[in-house]
Symmetry: D4
Subunit: 218 residues, 8 copies
């Protein structure tokens, strides 16, 4: 077979290999998923297009399909659950697909998640009304497009470390998320680090790593 | 003389010609200032370097020198005062020179100004503590560097139109204010328009135009 | 429901929430519009694609549909009318969609509008022939693509504050409006501030804010 | 006084205010430091130029000066020590100043640090020879300039979460660290998030947050 | 005929003219291929879209079609074989099309090729397991997308000169390979030079030139 | 000697070699100038810094020194004079150095020049007042910084071909003339072509070529 | 009607209005063309897509349609012919559409044209073989994509002024012609000015202006 | 000691460690050089500033100092000489420092070098006059600034593989060599690969690798 799967990754890095669906055919994805299942691993496949979602939901009736977040999960043996939870705060309606990719990834790896939606900074009261709950999170993920101000505002109000995810939501001088990414990089608040544009997976992965560390579960 | 002064500008655009000091010698600036004074106009000179500030304070004992904002004002006949006031909100210590350029410009043209300093979004309580006063302004100027989140946050809390000024404060992926400018362009809040990086003068000018309109003083 | 509508925005910022149609399904837009109507608010929905325009004109027979500007308005209780008017000056044929988004937004909010089309600076006489009328506006919106020279030229001829809107009309080194935006940012004329590329809505909103201030109607 | 110090930040965000020295005069920095000391807080001042370093070492004989990392620390009451340690891995000689800023920040906040220098990927054996020690870290900081490959390579070999810091070391098409930042953003390895160019402080801060979470010390 | 073929190129530069298929119709490509065949030259056509692949496989039954690499070869008189071989190392599944363009080009010109797939630096053991074989190559081609770390890592482990090929695989801040190209340009390892994004052809051509020099076959 | 002067250029391209002073020592420039004089050619040296201006005015008492435009001319045998003239229109005070480089170059090569200064588009009446004279030019050079609107406006009012020269005058989002260059590239007016930022020499050269063609003097 | 045609442009600028077809419907283009014909002007319409080409060839049987160059010409009264000719030199097959836009524009306005195709600098003999003919041109247009070296090489061999046209032909780090444009801007050869990417129309227009000046025909 | 020298590199990669002087103090460089000498290796130190050059010529009387190329060589045991030679072709006077860095590096490693200066494409006869000699080279280095056309032109005339080096010579839209680098990346000629801006060292290194392969000396 063409692809040399990194079965050993779980051992080495603490996490199984995840299938990045972009640029792969539905059949290729199915094949890799079967190999992982055969090796006794849980399966997470992200960035699935409509064809792949359709094909895979046929091929794996036991799978958990998430069209909004464009991903599939097959969990044969649930991972150990970390004690704390990951808080995932998103700004606008259009940022929710990326926020959901982060949430479903963190859950797949063994973290509980609380979701806070529509917390854009142009209507600060929405963010503020959730603050008590947000402050209980072990680690936060902040997902925003456009000017990407959410992580700066939120990080000034909480103690938890925060992963910021710029999204490609915006137009004109937004450059498909590049302005958002750069703004987040320049956050004047402490405790913020950044992942690539629309990289909900990476944010969920990082957040789980930190949450499980904090829970002593690793 | 080399420079062809636009005396008529006051008539045509409602504002006198202002001297942009960058790239002019102290003597050239003095010469233009004298011509404006001779024509009965008030003088505002911006972007003065240390040499120019020194030379002009000698040449015009009656002048009002502002080294922090790098400008000089000579007001022979005070302009009519507009009724409302311009609120100028700035984020960090390093943004104050630009904020002051805006404030002194607006005052020069006939607007009263209230200044709100150190209102960066990483410590939201500072902004919030001034909100009642800020809400009384006719028009707002928001001055910020780095990720430039201040206008988005503030515009969601007030009714007044707002001029956002990105500053060149920042480092790395800030690109001397370009990231800030782009972020402000993408503000998710309504009622925000933007001027060039560090353009305190332009913001003060616009704010006065709007304030004087609102005061029926034009 | 997924979206947490900011009903209170009218109170807080003086303007109702507006529906940004890009990235929303026709059904989502209909749902938000119904909620706003139920809450007694007027409805403005922008950036509607053809599907959304079709669906919404069916769903809301009372709506005022504007395919050229890609927006829909439903006005149950007309807003108070400001005394002055907004002048909207556009450069070329292809800038008219954006200019119209600005015009229809300002009208929706309570401002009268005069439109000046085909005023590109390559044929200066066209602009000049409208100058007497333009000079009566309380506030101006200048919409242009390509090299974006219109605001610079026009601002030197008038007293009113001006919102410049770069459009994505152009090719090659225009970069879908980025060159235009940057050029407008560098305007050598006073009294110009800028909104995002193609952001007719933002310009109309700002212009109305200023116009209503000037009319003492707020 | 000009600057409105955020004394309350310790309470709200778990960390005291830190003085960002760039663009402040030595006297301004001294003044803020004295206020923090008076409020019973430890002092960390970063980005000090030579003048500031000289002035402050005179003003605060008790201070701990670090010219290489351009920072000063005054620790009146040592913070609680977290149980684990932060591993700080740097690529080349010229990246050490940034790595040291990260290390001294993490120590200031209460984390122990192990430093791994000269681990650039062009001589992989150097990185590999430290791997057993590196794997014991709770959290890692990876500091590199030029093509920024270190985080990708290292993250594939370890379980700990990693903060990547691009440095402005390089020339030509490096663009003072922008290429490095972008490359790190695109890391093909999991568990990596990124802070701004040369932002050793931010990396040390994040790493300590995570380390102290993992130690149950918060 | 429209196109003025450079038959003499073989003589002058040691290599026949190669057909760059992008932007040419299937019929234009066929015509040029026939002219080259008539002139007694072998034919290599790259960047063929699906239409062109289909048309040409009908037009030239003797051709060797490679849909994955999007190219066609017609070899009437096999070129002299160089003694050594070109090693082509690629990082991820999605880089294989470009790697294959390089491999098939080098073979077309007279070099033997060994292919090493799935050698991305996030799983270093895969690269290391091939190292003994890789070290036998006369010259190497390294093909990678995303952060493009492969050439830096590999060049530090081998003596052979290396041509690095950035691919357009990636998303967000990858900018279709530009980040990868810039990172490769900044490689901290010696012996690396770079060709354009996705330019497998150019890499294969360069590699063959060097391999044939080393084999004394030119 | 290190430099291989292209004496034959006059014959081949119709113009003598010109000395580009940037990056050359005063002594190197003197040496090249002497060689050109010995070969019977006139000498034009541009981009001279203060040291070079001083040294050369000592070395060549017969030279014509222009510190403002940073150039030197030594004309032993005056070139044939073209019949028409080159009109050189500049926008602001700070654009005059570049405009003068263009003017002195065109004169050096044999064209008469008329200079129109302070014709920035923010005060259109200044440009318009010169229009009758400007319309007599054979060819025009338009020199402007900031938003670079001058060529668009002027080209719409005249028949002559126009060379636009962006200058590096501006700040913030001007990027040392890049915005200006891009804006000029997008001019909506016909008959405009563009040279590099601050390239007064190139504009003067082109303008003379066209003027001499039009005068039948070549 | 929506569009305010600039009939007077012929008088003012020496050339009739030309229809820029991009972004206009076939019916809009037909309408403008009819108006121009009714006003006694010749018609040139550029950037026509396939729909427009089809519609217009039906609507104007007398028109001269050029699908390759995507333009239409209707010449009722032939313009005066200039004495010299415009030489249009293009580099690759894919640059011919732009070269043809230039050629057909220059002819439309009254210049004769000689076309030199496939003169890319990678096979210098092709350019050199045409040099005697090229040297007879009054003015040259050089059309090239990719690295855009053609104008530099050619301008060093000839006396005529040259308009360089970058094309969007290329891939990867070509950025749809931006690299080509920038390279042309930096040409080390004298006598070159540049128009926007793919702007064959602008180049043809400029070339005709110069040619007709040289012919004394204006 | 601070720096962990990679003595083993000679064994592993066929070349000794080279000292990159930028950002190191003269004393640090001396120390590393002594360590290399003690280990029996030859020393090459590049990117030396004036202080370092002065200090090192005092510290190592046996050293071979090259201020023009900013480097130092200490050769205790001459490397084996490869049979062929490296041809180094440079465009302008200002490119010679980079060309010399390449030449001295290749010689240091064991290759003979022929230098061809002032071969810019704007005066093609200079390049052509050296062509017979250039064609004898085993491998070529082409060094150019501005539009970087030299490699494209030269590669079309020769068989040898070519390393192109963009230099930071240029102004305005050259962006300190970035335009040159991008143009070279887009070379339409075969057999060209590119190294970083001003990276003469890298080019000389690559060229020697290839030359020594071709000479069978490795
Ligand atoms: N949505 C995603 N965004 C970024 N990286 C991902 C995503 N999903 C998976 N990955 C990474 O891509 C790797 C698999 O890449 P591949 O070998 O191309 O399937 C996984 O191990 C993850 O590290
Ligand atoms: N055409 C438009 N351009 C920019 N912003 C808009 C536009 N239309 C609506 N908006 C803004 O988008 C907000 C709604 O965003 P959303 O919650 O995603 O529907 C509105 O309150 C407006 O502030
Ligand atoms: N100010 C200038 N701007 C651009 N190019 C110039 C300038 N002055 C001279 N040149 C060009 O530079 C060439 C000389 O370059 P060099 O051989 O480096 O002295 C001249 O022949 C001109 O083509
Ligand atoms: N292919 C073209 N490229 C650039 N500009 C063009 C082109 N064709 C026409 N134009 C210009 O566009 C103007 C017409 O623009 P419009 O009013 O939008 O039709 C003409 O007068 C020309 O100046
Ligand atoms: Mg925090
Ligand atoms: Mg508001
Ligand atoms: Mg005005
Ligand atoms: Mg890991
Ligand atoms: Mg190597
Ligand atoms: Mg004209
Ligand atoms: Mg020439
Ligand atoms: Mg060749």
């Amino acid at each position: 077979s063409h692809t040399d799967i990194d079965y050993d990754r779980l051992e080495r890095t603490g996490c199984p290999e995840v299938i990045y669906g972009a640029g792969k055919t539905p059949v290729q994805i199915e094949e890799i998923a079967r190999n992982l299942l055969d090796a006794g691993q849980n399966v997470l496949a992200t960035r699935l297009n409509e064809d792949a979602l359709l094909h895979l939901s046929g091929a794996f009736p036991e799978a958990d399909m998430h069209p909004e977040a464009r991903l599939m999960r097959i969990i044969s043996s649930p991972p150990p659950q970390a004690a704390g939870f990951v808080g995932i705060v998103s700004a606008g309606t259009s940022d929710q697909a990326v926020a959901e990719e982060a949430a479903l990834t963190a859950e797949f790896l063994g973290s509980r998640v609380r979701r806070y939606r529509d917390c854009g900074v142009a209507g600060l009261h929405r963010l503020v009304s959730h603050l008590d709950s947000i402050r209980e999170a072990t680690v936060l993920v902040a997902v925003a497009g456009m000017e990407g101000a959410l992580p700066s505002v939120l990080a000034g109000l909480v103690k938890a470390p925060m992963i910021a995810v710029p999204t490609s939501v915006g137009y004109g001088a937004n450059f498909r998320g590049v302005t958002t990414l750069l703004a987040m990089m320049n956050s004047c608040a402490n405790g913020v680090s950044v992942v690539n544009i629309d990289n909900g997976f990476g944010a969920g992965f990082n957040a789980h790593l930190i949450n499980s560390l904090a829970s002593g579960s690793r």
